[in-house]
Symmetry: C2
Subunit: 197 residues, 2 copies
């Protein structure tokens, strides 16, 4: 271990603080302020630990947790793109790739490469771990929306058909959780918190 290795690790650790300032459209249940990416990342890492038994295929939970802890780090540079923001999604990939180059590049090369590979795996959704991680990443904001009377949906004029379309991938990683989520979406429309279209 060289001094330089530890210095690079600590520089990255200090940079991570900025994720606490990247705001999302999700509102907290209690005081309804906007959630930030660090809070979201912690919450979904906990959800993965608690809900792993519902994954479509057996998963290495430790890898899922690690993936979820790092999955939004690129948003320190690229910002959060709201799931229903179609214009924002047009250049999302380019912004996030540049962010990954800079941010993971702060680390010692072996660690930077390891985190980059894990983030690429998450983005590609081609492994059971990545699919389950994506399910959890989608389920958490949906839970928050349902339990705040659809606050973020209503603020952005989102309708049930779009919620169903954008979240159907929950079923790829965790069919039981998608069944559960669909019932919540139905209840939200019945309660008048989410217009049908």
């Amino acid at each position: 271990m060289t001094e330089d290795r530890l210095s690079r690790q600590i520089a990255f650790v200090l940079e991570l603080d900025a994720l606490k300032q990247v705001l999302r459209q999700t509102l907290l249940l209690a005081d309804r302020r906007q959630e930030n990416d660090a809070e979201h990342s912690w919450h979904i890492a906990m959800m993965a630990l608690l809900l792993a038994e519902h994954a479509a295929e057996p998963v290495d939970v430790g890898r899922v947790v690690k993936m979820l802890l790092i999955h939004d780090i690129v948003e320190i540079d690229a910002g959060d793109t709201f799931i229903y923001d179609e214009a924002g999604h047009a250049d999302k990939e380019a912004r996030e790739q540049a962010a990954a180059d800079r941010l993971f590049g702060l680390l010692p090369a072996d660690q930077g490469a390891e985190l980059r590979a894990l983030w690429d795996e998450f983005e590609a959704r081609a492994t059971p771990e990545a699919r389950f991680a994506a399910s959890i990443d989608r389920l958490q904001p949906l839970l928050h929306n349902v339990h705040t009377e659809g606050a973020a949906w209503r603020r952005h004029g989102v309708t049930a058909d779009r919620v169903l379309a954008r979240n159907a991938m929950i079923g790829d990683g965790a069919p039981v959780l998608w069944d559960y989520a669909r019932r919540l979406i139905e209840q939200a429309t019945d309660a008048g918190h989410l217009p049908l279209k």
Copy 2:
């Protein structure tokens, strides 16, 4: 899997949202607002992933991460006790034990028992994983203090002798990180950000 099992898991997931509102004395590096426990938990889980090679003994990093993700959940009920608040520490254990009973009791019994055992292990600091987790939990606020010109230390009139005494346990779990931290503490006193006593 019964409906009731999933309902209990989701009830706990929703309860976790409250950790985002438990404020700590640590200030963020950028805008210097107070950090909350969810942000802190995410940050130290990342630090454990990045700094595991500096642990005093080989550790199962996945277990360390899990321990750090859950270690502050009891503060949803018990609140955060500032490390230099000696009065607050007098009844901290009783408050936190009651909180653990209620919060982990929300989960299905097997999962509640597993998380409770992991939290007990963290608190006891008797395993390599728990000692390394404790080192990381102490190092993060120290880094924030150093990189905000000692803001939280100065606000509470904390002196270098107390910082050294309360953080020496970093050396039990990660001697290399304690050497590093001691140099930072020295630099902070030299810069006038931390009075000697």
